[in-house]
Symmetry: C2
Subunit: 310 residues, 2 copies
Amino acid sequence: MHEFDLIARYFRPLAEGYAGSYALTDDAATVDVPEGMQLVVTKDLIISGVHFMGTEAPGVVARKLLRVNLSDLAAKGAEPVCYFLGGALPKDAQESWVAAFAAGLAEDQKEFSISLAGGDTTATPGPLTLSLTALGLVPKGQMLTRSGAKAGDLLYVSSFIGDAALGLKSVRGEIESRSFLEDRYHLPRPRLSIGQQLRGVASACMDISDGLVQDLGHLCTTSGVGAKVEAIKVPVSNAASASQGEPWFMETILTGGDDYELLFTVPQDQKDKVPQGCRLIGEITAGSDVSVLDANGYPMTFSKTGYKHF
Amino acid sequence: MHEFDLIARYFRPLAEGYAGSYALTDDAATVDVPEGMQLVVTKDLIISGVHFMGTEAPGVVARKLLRVNLSDLAAKGAEPVCYFLGGALPKDAQESWVAAFAAGLAEDQKEFSISLAGGDTTATPGPLTLSLTALGLVPKGQMLTRSGAKAGDLLYVSSFIGDAALGLKSVRGEIESRSFLEDRYHLPRPRLSIGQQLRGVASACMDISDGLVQDLGHLCTTSGVGAKVEAIKVPVSNAASASQGEPWFMETILTGGDDYELLFTVPQDQKDKVPQGCRLIGEITAGSDVSVLDANGYPMTFSKTGYKHF
């Protein structure tokens, strides 16, 4: 496989819908930003054996990579425009792998109206390493941030929490296999429409990638507030509920990563504008304490609060 | 070392000059594009042991990473705005390494008026892998591309060719040590000012990263033209000339990579606007033949035409 052949055969078709990509024949791409709009840029890097197992179908790896970045755009209220892909492929990578990877991207490009605009491909003596930079648009000054939560604001999540963490247990054979949960682990649903509806409504927003408790901590730190979550209000899917009796259940739900649901705060007087299906799980408080209360109103403790990268 | 501490201590200071970075506390950054301007985006990925040796000072690795991307912006006539950094660090990476790496970035941020705006840091079981996405601005529709060269256009380079290739030989101990050349290998000079002066003047432009002959081939393919280069006109520095008697000399100059000089074409009636110091090395021709003629006017042949990534 030669770099330029790979690009021409598998990646150029992904860029053809986007004029600013110059069909990947140039050193750079152009992006137009309409008047009154502002660009939102996010970048994520995933590594085989670290962020995914390496045994997944190549199309699944591709789609997860794209979706975790789209989830960041969703959390900022942005509309996707285009993305840039950096791929470091092991020297023994097969062309069929690249073909299936590109097919996964093609599938999700259609679903999420985004196009490849540029990138870089190279060989590595290490594990497959993928970097993606996604660009989106918001009306100027309307990007949702992590910093606007105020004491008294209501705290919401966009949907079920913990499915992906249980999905990972299922993939690993630690619980009986449940395909719904595995699917949620492999293919997060970027909440683009919800994020866009939250512009001008949410006071703070982020996506949950490192676990609800840890990411809520980040949101609170950035906003300079505390929070109280009622564990009983955290929505759990039927598929996940099957494990409800396990001693690890609640901790896994609340601290497991890979949810890619939105976590957001809304001033009391805006609560009627919260999109349908989102669930109230608690409230923002003064101070800096972040606590999760059990069904009896006692603060819960966790052996770890979420995914650590080092 | 913890990811969030690393970011706070070493990378946040690099982003403080850029409001859209939200001091690296958010999921994404914002970028404003003034009316009448267009964004130019480029992405490069470098891996220890592949694109650099791994024995370089961390600050040198940082600056080369930034500069190879700035060189792409230069080649497109763009003015740098901000960049996004993805770093996959080996698990045994030392905090002192990260500190020196960030110090290198800080130095070049000042020199090239660019700021860190966001990114992602993670651990890898493989070699140090760095990805950088650089954003710049051009007046709308004025990005220099690879595709506009026409038969009869004049072919130029921005400065000496081959210094970096000889610098690599010097670093490797294959020739007697010459610090000028090693410096040119480690620290390319992105030709930002020349690139910006070429807007509306050059018909095609790119930067030379994979060797003059190979990259000229890319430019010609994209433009649908051929080219004739007179080897004797290709400018060579005094430091490089010391190896002039070696049998490998001319091939190394013409096909060695890492020059990061601009290669560009200019219609005959625009030649007075070519920035000072740039050198005429040949001419664009009809057809698709790319040939380099020796001092006697005979086409030269090369055992390899440049750097191959796979």
